[in-house]
Each structure stands twice: as structure tokens, then as C-alpha cells.
């Protein structure tokens, strides 16, 4: 008799907790989706920012009930099953102390299904999002249409980009201690420290480093790719809004890592074209001293890329003396 009563109580406890959990979870999920979700970083400036924000919010919708469930159960058990007696309570016996294979099994099944679903969801989001703005290495497999052609053309020095042409714009990000420079292979390979992007365009960021590992993190663009020496790490995004963004280094790169940031902006395609052509012609005199465009740059014996200085750095670095008219093939 007492046993039957106990198990009734048990069912009540679980039922009560379950319905409370469902209600609180649904309410909080809805509130999160409406009130918090749209403000989750990094905003909606690019296709990857939008997609990754959506991803984050989906994960949060699943995470909230988990948090509420476990914390709620901890709280519930402290309220209901805390021993009020002084000293050591009697041991718990009978069915309350017994194991429950059904509970174990359902826990395992539910967590497994959730986790596998999350992995499938993440994989689909990664592929549909063309790498989601993360660095895909030198041989990217999830790419926007036309990117392979644009990249090859850029490397051969035949790259072009025109407004309203729906072309992929390749841009090289060169990280070094402790700054980023950007190279535009479709505009005569000029180099600048200000990243300017056209709106509504697929961008292929080719990220490399001249010295140590950095990470190119264009925060509002939702692009993050490690800059490795001698490696071309490619990441894609599509700009969808005008505005400013900040670029930070997110991989510890030495002394001034904390100060390694600069700003960029997304402008209209016409403005971008005007800016790029103006910068190309303005910098042409300097651009000719730069090494020829390549996906990676080898630091040479003369210290062109912060390499080894055999004479104790007595001779200042000079691109003219180093290269003459042509970079040594290395």
C-alpha cells in the first residue's frame, strides 16, 4: 500500500516537473527568439553573419531548455527532497532507491538524437553557408560560384572585377607582426591598410602571413581565418549591408597582439570601383616595388618579410636593392 502510494507520488513529481519545464522552456525560447535573437552578434552585415547568427539562435533555442531542465531539477530536488532533520537522515530505501532502466535508456536516446541532429544541422549550415566565413585552407571545397575562375585569373594577373557583374572579388589579406595589409589583385595588385569592400558581392579572402600565425577576424563580416606563413587560407562571405566593420587579430601573435586591429567599410559597388581605381593609379609608383602577386610570400635572406638579418640588421631593408626589377624565384 505504502509502496503504491510512493510510486504515485513519484509520477506526480515527474509529471509536475515535466509540465513546468515545458512551459518555462517554451516561454523563454519564444522570448529569446523575439527579444534577444536579432541582436546576437555579429549582426547581419554579410551572408555569413546572417547565417551564423541564425545558427547561434537555433543552438540557443535547444540550449535554453537543457539549462532550465537541469537547473530546474536541481532546484526542484532541493526544495522537495532536502532533509530537514538534524543529523544524518535515514537511508532512502524501497523503489525510490531503485535504478530505472527506462529512465537511463530514454536519457541516452534523447541526448544522442539531439546531438546527432545538431551535428547534421551544423554540417548542412557549413556547406550551405560556403564554409560559414571560416578559413577553408588552400583548397576550399565549399565555394561561391565563379570563385575558382576569379582566383585563377587573379593569380595569373588577368583578374578583373566590374560593378554589377556578379563576379567574385578576390582580396588578399597579409598579416604580419602587428598589422594587416590588403592586396587587390584585380586592381593592379595595389596594397592598402584599409579594407574597402563593395556591397552585394561575393568576396574571397585569401589570408596569409609573413611571420607567425595570426587570425584575420573581420568581426561584423563574420569572417575568421588563421593567417599562416606560406599557407593561403581562403574564406568566403557575401556583403549585404553598407557600413563600417572592425578587423582584429584573434590568434596570439606576440607583443602587440592586442593592438593589431584596423577598420574597414562596405561601400556601394560604384563607390568601391571609384575608390579602387583611384587608389590603383595613386599607388602605382609604389606598387611596382612590391613583390609580384602570389598566394604566399617567402621571407628571403634579405629580410624582405621580417626574416633573418645576417648582418645584424645594419643594412636597412630596401625593396629596390632586394628585388631589383624582379623578385628572385624562391
Amino acid at each position: 500500500m505504502a509502496r503504491a502510494k510512493l510510486s504515485d507520488q513519484g509520477r506526480n513529481h515527474l509529471r509536475r516537473f515535466f509540465f513546468g519545464w515545458i512551459i518555462v522552456s517554451v516561454v523563454l525560447d519564444v522570448l529569446f527568439w523575439i527579444l534577444v535573437g536579432p541582436h546576437i552578434p555579429p549582426g547581419r552585415m554579410t551572408s555569413t553573419a546572417k547565417a551564423d547568427q541564425f545558427d547561434f539562435n537555433i543552438l540557443a533555442l535547444i540550449a535554453l531548455p537543457v539549462l532550465i531542465g537541469v537547473w530546474g531539477f536541481l532546484g526542484y530536488s532541493l526544495v522537495h527532497w532536502r532533509s530537514t532533520r538534524e543529523g544524518v537522515p535515514d537511508p532512502v530505501g524501497g523503489p525510490s532507491a531503485a535504478g530505472n532502466h527506462r529512465a537511463e535508456l530514454s536519457w541516452i536516446v534523447i541526448t544522442s538524437v539531439t546531438v546527432l541532429a545538431l551535428a547534421v544541422f551544423g554540417t548542412i549550415a557549413l556547406i550551405v553557408g560556403q564554409g560559414s566565413g571560416g578559413g577553408e585552407g588552400p583548397n576550399p571545397i565549399w565555394t561561391p560560384p565563379g570563385s575558382a575562375k576569379a582566383e585563377t585569373a587573379a593569380l595569373e594577373g588577368k583578374g578583373t572585377w566590374l560593378p554589377n557583374s556578379n563576379q567574385v572579388l578576390p582580396i588578399q589579406v597579409i598579416a604580419q607582426q602587428w598589422k594587416f595589409t590588403y592586396r587587390y589583385p584585380t586592381f593592379g595588385n595595389f596594397e592598402t591598410s584599409q579594407l574597402v569592400l563593395p556591397d552585394n558581392t561575393n568576396i574571397a579572402f585569401n589570408v596569409t602571413s609573413l611571420d607567425v600565425i595570426h587570425s584575420f577576424w573581420a568581426y561584423q563580416l563574420e569572417v575568421k581565418a588563421d593567417a599562416n606563413p606560406l599557407v593561403n587560407n581562403v574564406a568566403y562571405t557575401k556583403t549585404e549591408q553598407l557600413g563600417q566593420f572592425v578587423v582584429r587579430c584573434s590568434e596570439l601573435c606576440g607583443l602587440w597582439h592586442g593592438a593589431m586591429f584596423n577598420y574597414g567599410k562596405v561601400v556601394s559597388q560604384a563607390d568601391f570601383m571609384a575608390w579602387a581605381q583611384a587608389t590603383e593609379s595613386k599607388d602605382a609608383a609604389n606598387t611596382k616595388f612590391l613583390p609580384p602577386f602570389a598566394w604566399t610570400y617567402v621571407p628571403d635572406a634579405n629580410g624582405a618579410a621580417g626574416g633573418y638579418y645576417p648582418d645584424g640588421n645594419l643594412t636597412p631593408y630596401s625593396p629596390v636593392e632586394t628585388y631589383g626589377s624582379k623578385q628572385p624565384s624562391s
Partner: protein, 655 residues
């Protein structure tokens, strides 16, 4: 009565008392024999000798021309310092004597205080040495954390310059990671595993003592980086920066190599002990869940640390004899370090998590007066986590430019690991269900582990998702995530273990009021310190920066002030220890929590060889309540301990 195996201990009784069989040293005992002081002296002279030797054999072989820095000398100095330290403490006496075919003469066990400063083979002494050792590690790392939070109080007004700040960050990370890898296995694992499995000693007491003394040597090696100018790489030590860095980098690389030797030794010894030294009747389904967690951890220590050792060795070779393992320009690869490091680094994460799961699994039934729920699932979860942890390492380098089709695979394995981790939650929640919960201090810490680790685990799922990883990788979100799992998980669990077992170790009751103050301050300010960091990270603050966006100052200041108070909570902890152990010592009963665990069935203080007779285990230690359940263990001539009665549980065989 079921007896599964013959006790190995009873077969070689002379082995059970290894030390007393050797005669005293010929050159005197007392403070003239080997102890901490001789270790320091020999370590000092070893350093000088090694530095001289390095300059002698490789004097013209400087790393950067004109710098005068000779990495060979820097490395050999540290190597001979460690050898001198080990020789000075007496760790080499036995192997060296055996090598030349002599009988080893070792000091007899010293009674009293002195043995805590010596190469002692009693696992309980080593356990206490480890407690003091990891607390020293932890408090030095904690002071560095206070320095970090001080610097981050203001984005433009700087307390340290950028270089000093990077050194502090790197040293904090390295010290804390090395501390956390031993924080439970070392102190509580060494102390309680033999007691819990009914063994009189460890399988390899010398290896056990060696693991502690080389662990302390590693502490000095890692700290030697600071006088050498520090290292700028953080605890991850990524390669081109590592190759570029100054002599402090040698301390980091060699420190890791040294500590990984200690980790291998500790893991190997504990794994062998658990497999071979279980008392008769201690079948695998009766092994306490803490022991399960320790054997899973021991396996990880033994298998993952060699990779770190090799990685550190490659780095040292790169810097001393100018090999090019990590130098991309000369045919090496910076990815090699990243992969080797994280191939160790991810099992390391679970080295720092699993023992915490074991502690909560061990403590919660005691304060619920209920059997552990789903014991088999708990054990399976720990083994599952240990196995899977070798297959997830690339999630640390999702954005590094690794082969892109590896990313879905590692996303999958990383998310899979949350299934066995979830088992630990099932076990805890199932045990709480309809229990009679006593909110003693160890129980509070255990509940806090569940509270914190849930945040750590759920944020880990965000990090494992590659698209979201683009947002959060390399920022304060990650930082907060792993502080929630390491500090919120294992440090809280370690504190639970200390409050639970210190009465057994010291024979003293800890002051409850101070303990509660410590708990609540630590719990509240831990969460107030690290939860804002999730937001700081989402708002775009990268890790390891000395300056940040102006708009983030409010959150950073909030976090900093909370961090100072979190640091202050440990002052209460220390005050509690001093007060309860020395100023106003209160004798603790032999079994203050009425636990059924085998370790509580011994007398306090625990006799040198733990058990007068090897107990015969009759059931698992969680049968709090079943009617007619068999007693826990048969101690021989003494009356059986009735398992179902809470009053009988504290009776030790000697009393």
C-alpha cells in the same frame, strides 16, 4: 561470500613494506640525508653546471646572431637543474644503485613532519605533498590571474606594458593547465585510490614519489621563464611565434616535457595499481565511481602525455640545434605543432574533467543517503569520454586552414562526446531524485559543479558547431567556456573532495562557518567573473589582449571586481585551513559523513599500511538502504560492518 581473485598483496607480504627492509644510509641520517634542502642545493648547482656545459660545447652557436643567447646552454641548465633536483631529493638512488648492480640503500621512512619534505614512498604522504603542491601552483596561477584582471580594468590606462602582460597571460595559462592536470589525480587519486580499492600501497611507490618530485621540478622550470624574459605564446605555444621567442620559451617547452614525464609516471602507476591491486571481491562492478574516473584519467595521462613530450622535444631541438620541425620555410610545418599540441591538449581537457565527475559521483550518494543512480552508465560515460577525447582535437583549429572536409567529422565527434558527458548528469540528477539531501559543504560544491559544468558543457556545443565557431573562436567566449569547465568543474570538484576528505586526511574538522563563506563567495563570484565574459566574447573581444574596445569597459570592470572577490574567497579557504588545523583544531570522527566508502572504514589517522588485513569486498559502496544488503567488506577477525546501519559504518578494525 564471493571472492573473485587472490589478493596480490598477501602473496608478497615483504613487498608491502619495501622501505623498512633497507638499511640506513652510510653518510648519516636526519637533516644530513636527502630532503627538500639538498634538492634545492643540487638543483642550483645543476643549473650552473648545465649552463657552463652548454656554453662550453656550443658557445659559438647562438640562436640569433649578436644576441649572445645560447639556447643549448639555456636548455642544458634546466635539464641539469631537474636532474640535480631529482638527485638531491633521492629519486635517483634506487635506479642508479640497481644500474651498477648494488643493493640500494635508502633512508628509512622518517616519522613526523620531516617525511613530507622527503622522497617518501607512502602514498598518503605523497597525496598530502601533492595537495600542498597543487595549491601552491594554483595560488601562484591565481595571483597572475589577478594581475590580468587588473590590467583589463581599463582599456587605455595600463598597469603593465604589453610585453609584461603577454608574459603574465602565458605564465598564468601554463601554470594553471599543468596544475589542473594533476589537481585531483595527484592529491586525491594518490591518497584515496589504494584506500578505496583495499590495497596497502601503490603498485610502484617509487614511480609515484618520482611523479610528485618531477611535478614540482616542472613548476620551477615553468617559472624560470619569468627571469628569462618570459614567453609570448600563451599556454598553447604556437610554433612560428615559439621559434621566434627568447630563452623563456625553452622553459616552457622543457617545463611541459618535464611535467609530461610526471604525468606519464603518475598515470601508469595509478592504472597498474587499480588493475592489479584491488582487494579480493573488488570486482569491476564494485569499484567506486571515483576509481573509475581515475583509471580513465590515468589512461589518458599515460597515452596523451608522450605526444606532448615529443612536441616539446621537437621545439627544443628547433631552438638548440636548429632543426626545422616547426619552421615552414625550411620544410617543417607550423601545423605540426598545432596538431601535436592539441592531440595532447584535448585528452588533457578531459584529464581535467573526468576526476571531477568521479568526485561528484562519489560524494552525492553520501549526502543523498541513496545508492548511486545508474552506476554502470557512469562508468561507461567515463570510459566513453576517455576514448572519444582522442578523436576531437582538430576542433581547436577549425579556422586554421586545415583540410576543410575534416571539419564536419570533428564537429560530429566533438558533439558525440557530449553524450557520455551527459551520463554524468543523468547519474547526478537520478541520485538526487527522491533523496534525503543533506546540504553539507562538500555537497554544495558538488551541486555547484553541476551548475557550472552545465554552462561549460552547453557553451562547448556552441563552440563545436563550425558556423558558430567562426563567431566565438579565439575570443573571450572560449575563455569563459574553458574556465567554466576547468575552474567551475574540476576546481569546484577538488574543493568538494578536500572538504569531504580532509577530515580523514588530517583528523580535524573544518570550521563550517568559514567553509560556507568560502563556498558562497567562490560560487557567486566565480559566476559573476566568468559569465560576463561570454558576452564580452560575443561582442568581439579576442583573448590575450591588453587593450580592448572602450564600450566593453563596463563588463570588463564588472568581471575584474568579481575576480578580485573570487580571489579573496581563497583567502577564506586558507584562513579556514589555518584556523581549523592549527588555531582551534577539533578532532574529526573517523567517519563524519557516514559514508559507506572503504576509505572511511579505516582508523583516523590511517595506519601506514592502511588495512591490518586486506579486506574482502562484498558489495559496492553505495548500498545505503537495501534491506538485507550484504555488508560492504569483511575485515577478517573484526565484526562485520553492517552496511545498512549508518552508525556502524565508522568503526575501524583497530578500534
Amino acid at each position: 561470500m564471493t571472492i573473485s581473485a587472490e589478493p596480490p598483496q598477501e602473496m608478497d607480504v615483504s613487498e608491502a613494506a619495501p622501505v623498512s627492509t633497507y638499511g640506513p644510509r652510510s653518510w648519516g641520517g636526519g637533516w644530513l640525508s636527502q630532503h627538500l634542502g639538498t634538492a634545492i642545493v643540487l638543483g642550483f648547482f645543476g643549473y650552473i653546471f648545465g649552463h657552463w656545459l652548454g656554453n662550453y660545447i656550443a658557445g659559438g652557436y647562438v640562436y640569433v646572431q649578436g644576441s649572445g643567447q645560447n639556447s643549448t646552454a639555456d636548455f642544458l641548465a634546466l635539464l641539469f637543474m631537474v636532474l640535480g633536483w631529482l638527485g638531491g631529493i633521492g629519486a635517483l638512488n634506487y635506479p642508479l644503485a640497481k644500474l651498477i648492480g648494488r643493493d640500494a640503500k635508502e633512508d628509512p621512512e622518517y616519522p613526523g613532519w620531516s617525511r613530507y619534505f622527503r622522497y617518501t614512498l607512502d602514498h598518503k604522504v605523497v597525496g598530502v605533498q601533492y595537495i600542498v603542491g597543487v595549491l601552491l601552483f594554483f595560488f601562484t596561477g591565481g595571483l597572475l590571474a589577478m594581475a590580468i584582471r587588473t590590467e583589463l580594468l581599463n582599456p587605455t590606462v595600463h598597469v603593465f606594458n604589453a610585453g609584461t602582460y603577454i608574459k603574465i597571460v602565458s605564465e598564468h595559462g601554463t601554470i594553471m593547465m599543468m596544475m589542473a592536470s594533476s589537481i585531483v589525480v595527484g592529491p586525491l587519486g594518490n591518497y584515496f585510490v589504494p584506500l578505496m580499492i583495499g590495497a596497502r600501497r601503490m603498485a610502484y611507490p617509487r614511480i609515484e614519489a618520482f611523479s610528485f618530485w618531477i611535478f614540482t621540478a616542472g613548476y620551477f622550470v615553468i617559472f624560470s621563464a619569468l627571469p628569462f624574459g618570459g614567453f609570448p605564446t600563451g599556454w598553447t605555444g604556437y610554433a612560428p611565434l615559439q621559434t621566434q621567442a627568447g630563452p623563456g620559451m625553452i622553459s616552457y617547452l622543457f617545463g611541459f616535457a618535464v611535467i609530461s614525464i610526471g604525468m606519464m609516471a603518475a598515470g601508469f602507476n595509478i592504472a597498474v595499481t587499480i588493475i592489479n591491486y584491488r582487494a579480493p571481491g573488488m570486482t569491476w562492478s564494485r569499484v567506486p565511481v571515483f576509481v573509475w574516473s581515475i583509471i580513465a584519467t590515468a589512461a589518458l595521462l599515460t597515452l596523451a602525455s608522450p605526444v606532448l613530450f615529443a612536441a616539446g622535444l621537437f621545439g627544443i631541438l628547433d631552438k638548440t640545434v636548429l632543426t626545422a620541425f616547426y619552421v615552414t620555410e625550411h620544410g617543417g610545418s607550423s601545423y605540426l605543432w598545432e596538431n601535436l599540441f592539441w592531440f595532447f591538449g584535448h585528452p588533457e581537457v578531459y584529464i581535467m574533467a573526468l576526476p571531477g565527475f568521479g568526485i561528484v559521483g562519489e560524494i552525492i550518494p553520501v549526502f543523498c543517503r541513496k545508492p548511486l543512480f545508474a552506476y554502470r552508465v557512469a562508468a561507461a560515460g567515463m570510459i566513453g569520454v576517455a576514448l572519444l577525447s582522442f578523436f576531437v582535437w582538430q576542433h581547436h583549429i577549425f579556422q586554421s586552414g586545415i583540410n576543410p572536409d575534416m571539419r564536419p567529422l570533428f564537429m560530429l565527434t566533438t558533439e558525440l562526446i557530449s553524450i557520455p558527458t551527459g551520463f554524468i548528469f543523468l547519474v547526478g540528477l537520478g541520485t538526487l531524485y527522491k533523496a534525503k539531501i543533506r546540504l553539507e559543504v562538500p555537497m554544495l560544491f558538488c551541486l555547484a559543479v553541476y551548475f557550472n559544468f552545465l554552462i561549460g558543457g552547453v557553451s562547448g556545443v556552441f563552440l563545436s558547431d563550425v558556423p558558430v565557431n567562426v563567431t566565438v573562436h579565439g575570443g573571450f567566449f572560449v575563455l569563459s567556456h574553458f574556465h567554466y569547465t576547468i575552474m567551475g568543474g574540476i576546481v569546484f570538484a577538488f574543493m568538494a573532495g578536500l572538504y569531504f576528505w580532509l577530515p580523514k586526511i588530517t583528523g580535524r574538522t573544518l570550521n563550517k562557518k568559514l567553509s560556507l563563506w568560502h563556498f558562497w563567495m567562490m560560487f557567486i563570484f566565480f559566476n559573476l567573473t566568468f559569465f560576463p565574459m561570454f558576452i564580452i566574447g560575443l561582442l568581439g573581444q579576442p583573448r590575450r589582449v591588453f587593450t580592448y574596445a572602450k564600450g566593453l569597459q563596463g563588463l570588463n570592470d564588472f568581471s575584474s571586481v568579481s575576480a578580485f572577490l573570487l580571489g579573496a574567497s581563497f583567502l577564506i579557504f586558507v584562513a579556514n585551513l589555518v584556523y581549523s588545523l592549527y588555531i582551534n583544531p577539533q578532532k574529526a570522527p573517523a567517519n563524519p559523513w557516514d559514508s559507506l566508502g572503504l576509505e572511511w572504514q579505516t582508523a583516523t589517522p590511517i595506519p601506514v599500511y592502511n588495512f591490518e588485513r586486506i579486506p574482502v569486498i562484498m558489495t559496492d559502496p553505495y548500498h545505503y538502504s537495501e534491506e538485507g544488503a550484504p555488508p560492504l567488506a569483511d575485515f577478517g577477525e573484526e565484526p562485520l560492518v553492517p552496511a545498512s546501519s549508518s552508525t556502524g559504518a565508522g568503526v575501524a578494525p583497530e578500534e
